[in-house]
């Protein structure tokens, strides 16, 4: 679909990781991003979203990029948390990008990854740097939407967060929100892989037991 792979630093500044993404200091969202700090200004990025800002600062629209990479949050490791994990960020900016296209692109992606027969749902969510914001869910492959242990009896699996780029973010990077619109998405490949391969402990990815690595 024409998305170019780009990269960004893992050792980020507070500005790119939060402020430029419409998350000023004292924003409640910062609480859920418990960060590893290096000094007052620098931290290990808690999300790949700062790459959006770096791309938009450097290049003018039209833009279509994906940015995979490592992210860090100060969570004690357990079966579902790891202080280091991966995200894949996506961004499309052009003169007439719509929410309908966001749904279209991500539905194609979900169907490629999980199979065409799986139903895809978009549910409202909240991220400071996108609006309207959504979470994409895919029908659980084990129970076909009825509800089972694998999906926590919800019938669906959470795949990614997404939304239309917030006009404030465009203003911050100097793109005219009246002229351009865009969408962005971010997903956690660790969790998706856990669902696809039935892995119940995220720590296995970082243990590097050769018997585990040989299975993929």
């Amino acid at each position: 679909m024409g998305f170019q792979v780009v990269y960004g630093p893992e050792l980020e500044t507070d500005y790119y990781n939060f402020t430029a993404l419409n998350i000023p200091s004292d924003h409640p969202v910062r609480e859920s991003h418990d960060s590893f700090y290096i000094d007052k200004e620098h931290l290990l990025r808690t999300q790949t979203s700062p790459v959006q800002i770096r791309v938009m600062e450097k290049k003018k629209p039209p833009l279509r990029v994906v940015a995979p990479g490592k992210c860090y949050r100060r969570d004690m490791p357990d079966a579902t948390h790891s202080p280091m994990f991966h995200q894949i960020e996506g961004l499309a900016v052009d003169t007439d990008i719509t929410f309908a296209e966001l749904k279209g692109v991500l539905t194609i992606f979900a169907h490629r990854l999980f199979g065409k027969e799986r139903k895809v749902y978009f549910i409202p969510s909240y991220f400071p740097f996108t609006e309207p914001s959504a979470e994409m869910y895919v029908e659980c492959g084990v129970c076909k939407g009825v509800g089972c242990k694998a999906c926590g009896y919800s019938g669906v699996l959470e795949i990614l967060g997404c939304g239309m780029v917030h006009p404030e973010v465009f203003r911050i990077v100097g793109i005219d929100p009246e002229k351009y619109t865009g969408f962005a998405f971010g997903m956690g490949p660790d969790r998706i892989a856990m669902q696809i391969y039935g892995i119940d402990d995220i720590r296995l990815f970082y243990e590097n037991d050769i018997r585990f690595l040989k299975q993929f």
Binding site: M1, G2, Q4, V5, Y7, P9, E10, L11, D26, P28, E31, S32, F36, Y37, I38, H42, L44, P62, K70, Y72, R74, M76, P83, M84, D94, D96, I97, T98, F99, A100, E101, K103, G104, V105, T107, Y121, F122, I123, P124, S125, Y126, P128, E131, P132, S133, A134, E135, S154, M164, P167, T181, F205, Y206, E207, N208, D209, I210, R211, L213, K214
Partner: protein
């Protein structure tokens, strides 16, 4: 749903919440059997002839007198009690006619716990005297209920209340809300001014502060309905006045605090910044030392509460309280967040103040709470209230262009449709020409600009009703970056040479560098420290992949896996002259045994050596740059960097 004009099945409520982005899950259903629990009266009590710990009660359940054996000690003749007859299911078990040491029991007297009413397992639930014999439990407590856990996004403070959730559900189904703030019935011959006074010194931290005075209340246990409303969501019932403040917080999202007025020195409250080192003992018994950034509510002499976070122990409502001073306020969300974090206290109140309560409704809710206290604990509400503020902010006005809605969403909504959606969720359309001028209700402080309204239209129109289309415009695809090409080729090449990809944490400890023998070598010694690491082992960023890969060898060797051929592509970090340097490296680890000659039968085994690695490095260079690398002697490690 006590707050809607119509009953909506719980499944549909869950579905609506999900479609609105308030993810709700049923935590439990409570009291599904309450329509089968009969109210009975104990007519007589005898000791069990053979068993010291059991009593035999004759219980009148309307049409007949039942013999029921119980082990509870709190029963008495004349007590109204809930009775489960044979056939009724209690906590998953069907009650039958049972014999206890030769005495038949024709049912069971229930404790609050057995009815899922509260956690109280001690004794039988004793019901109010006016409950009718033979009627069912649900007559008084409703047909059971569902406890739904709702995940409220951090921008929707208004939904941290029953009323807020009900508003959303009401808008979704088009069912009117059923809720009114009760007005306070004042006693005309006394005024709050005759008793209490108040001063706000720091308006920036407390823009609105309101008080009501309630004279001669009777503190006691809460009526059952009120206890039930708190217990079912896991809040402990304390006494009637405190319970009302908690209940109204759950209902409206506005935290309240009640003081024992007679314990306030000087009959006065002062809202001010704490003095450096000022101390307070809180309701939970903890002592906190405060500083100048924390807002306190003080009487004439000392702090009696940390504003919006927790009240003080000295002036809390107690069994002897006669006169209540009731507070409802609006505190600066940012300051509450900072103070709560600094003090390490998070309360139901601080959470709500952090997420913004409705500053326009403070006084209405104060009156409502005063009235509820009067109804539950008696007493007289003194005339007048104290309401200190420097003027309330005016309601937000936002302009919305209907064509902009469609441009963002990719829909074809007509202006009328947009107006209809916004009106039913409480937005006031002031004018329609040439754009929609919309007044935002005071409880929706998250709505600040046009895009916020577009999201509201999308939510109530339904995300799943918005079309789903591929990208409409062509795009000149940017060529892949060199970094991407190299990385991809490496990832193609190495697995074909028998290497697996490892991924290690980017953190390590200084000891790992020492173990790898590179602690004193530049640039590996220029490591960057994490200021708040999870542990000492993870306290610095790795300056080399070598320690990580040695660790992989170690972990696998500990698990009896001797043949480990892995590579890792990852970042290393060091301190540069004025900046932090971040580089992507490739590391390869080969340890264990390989075939001497892959084609020989029977095969022979040999240890892997430098030449295996050299071969791999040469292959990479050949595939990517089509040239041979040169190897130089190094003191510690062969390094191929790109």
């Amino acid at each position: 749903m006590d707050y809607l004009e119509e009953e909506i099945p719980v499944k549909e409520v869950i579905n609506a919440l999900r479609n609105l982005g308030l993810y709700g899950t049923i935590q439990k259903s409570i009291g599904a059997n309450w329509d089968k629990i009969i109210i009975g009266e104990i007519k007589s009590i005898e000791k069990h002839p053979h068993s010291e710990n059991l009593l035999i009660c004759k219980v009148d359940v309307g049409e007949k007198l039942l013999n029921i054996v119980t082990g509870a000690k709190n029963v008495f003749v004349g007590a109204k009690v809930p009775v489960a007859l044979p056939g009724v299911e209690i906590l998953g078990e069907v009650i039958g006619i049972r014999e206890f040491n030769g005495i038949k029991s024709e049912g069971m007297l229930c404790s609050e716990y057995e009815l899922e009413f509260s956690e109280d397992k001690e004794g039988i639930m004793i019901l109010p005297e006016d409950f009718k014999i033979g009627s069912t439990f649900d007559t008084y407590f409703g047909k059971g209920d569902f406890l739904i856990d709702v995940e409220v996004p951090s921008n929707r403070g208004d939904c941290l209340s029953y009323l807020g959730i009900a508003r959303e559900i009401s808008g979704y189904f088009g069912v009117p809300l059923k809720f009114e703030f009760k007005k306070a019935q004042e006693k005309d011959d006394i005024s709050i001014k005759d008793f209490a006074s108040c001063e706000v010194l720091d308006f920036d931290l407390c823009p609105r502060f309101t008080l009501r005075f309630i004279k001669d209340v009777k503190i006691g246990p809460s009526p059952l309905w009120l206890r039930w409303r708190l217990e079912r969501v896991g809040l402990r019932s304390i006494n009637n006045v405190v319970d009302i403040t908690n209940f109204i917080m759950l209902e409206t999202g506005q935290p309240l605090h009640a003081y024992d007025f007679d314990l306030l020195k000087g009959g006065k409250l002062i809202v001010r910044r704490a003095k450096e080192g000022e101390k307070i003992v809180l309701i939970n018994g903890e002592e906190k030392i405060l500083d100048n950034d924390i807002l306190v509510i003080a009487d004439a002499e000392r702090a009696v509460g940390i504003g919006g976070i927790m009240g003080g122990k000295d002036t809390e409502i107690n069994d002897n309280t006669k006169n209540v001073l009731l507070e409802a306020a609006y505190f600066s969300p940012v300051n509450i967040r900072r103070s709560a974090r600094k003090l390490g206290i998070r309360t139901d109140a601080s959470l709500r103040f952090e997420r913004n309560v409705d500053i326009h409704r403070t006084a209405d809710i104060l009156d409502y709470a005063a009235e509820m206290i009067r109804l539950v604990a008696g007493g007289d509400i003194a005339k007048d209230k104290i309401d200190i503020n420097k003027g309330l902010p005016s309601l937000t006005k936002v302009f919305l262009r209907p064509e902009r809605v469609n441009k963002i969403l990719g829909t074809n909504l007509k202006e009328d449709e947009i107006v209809r959606i916004l009106s039913k969720i409480g937005f006031d359309i002031k004018s329609r020409n040439p754009v929609l001028e919309i007044e935002v209700p005071s409880y929706r402080q998250d709505i600040k600009e046009e895009i916020d309204l577009i999201e509201e239209v999308a939510r109530f129109y339904g995300y799943n009703n918005i079309p789903s289309v591929p990208l409409q415009k062509g795009h000149i695809v940017d060529p892949p970056l060199t970094e991407e090409i190299i990385e991809r080729r490496i990832r193609e090449t190495l697995p074909s040479l028998g290497l697996y990809e490892a991924i290690n944490y980017s953190f390590m400890s200084v000891k790992d560098l020492e173990k790898a023998g590179i602690l004193n070598t530049e640039p590996f010694n220029l490591f960057i420290q994490i200021s708040n690491p999870l542990s000492e082992e993870n306290s610095v960023l790795r300056t080399s992949l070598l320690p990580s890969l040695l660790n992989v060898a170690q972990v696998n060797s500990n698990r009896q896996q001797k043949d480990v051929f892995v590579y890792e592509i990852g970042k290393v970090f060091y301190k540069g002259k004025d900046e932090y340097i971040e580089e992507k490296h490739l590391g390869i680890l080969m340890t264990g045994e390989a075939y001497k000659d892959p084609w020989s039968v029977p095969y022979e085994i040999r240890k892997v050596d430098f030449y295996d690695l050299k071969g791999i490095v040469e292959t990479i260079f050949e595939r990517i740059w089509k040239e041979e690398p040169t190897f130089k002697k190094s003191n510690f490690v062969v390094y191929a960097s790109f």
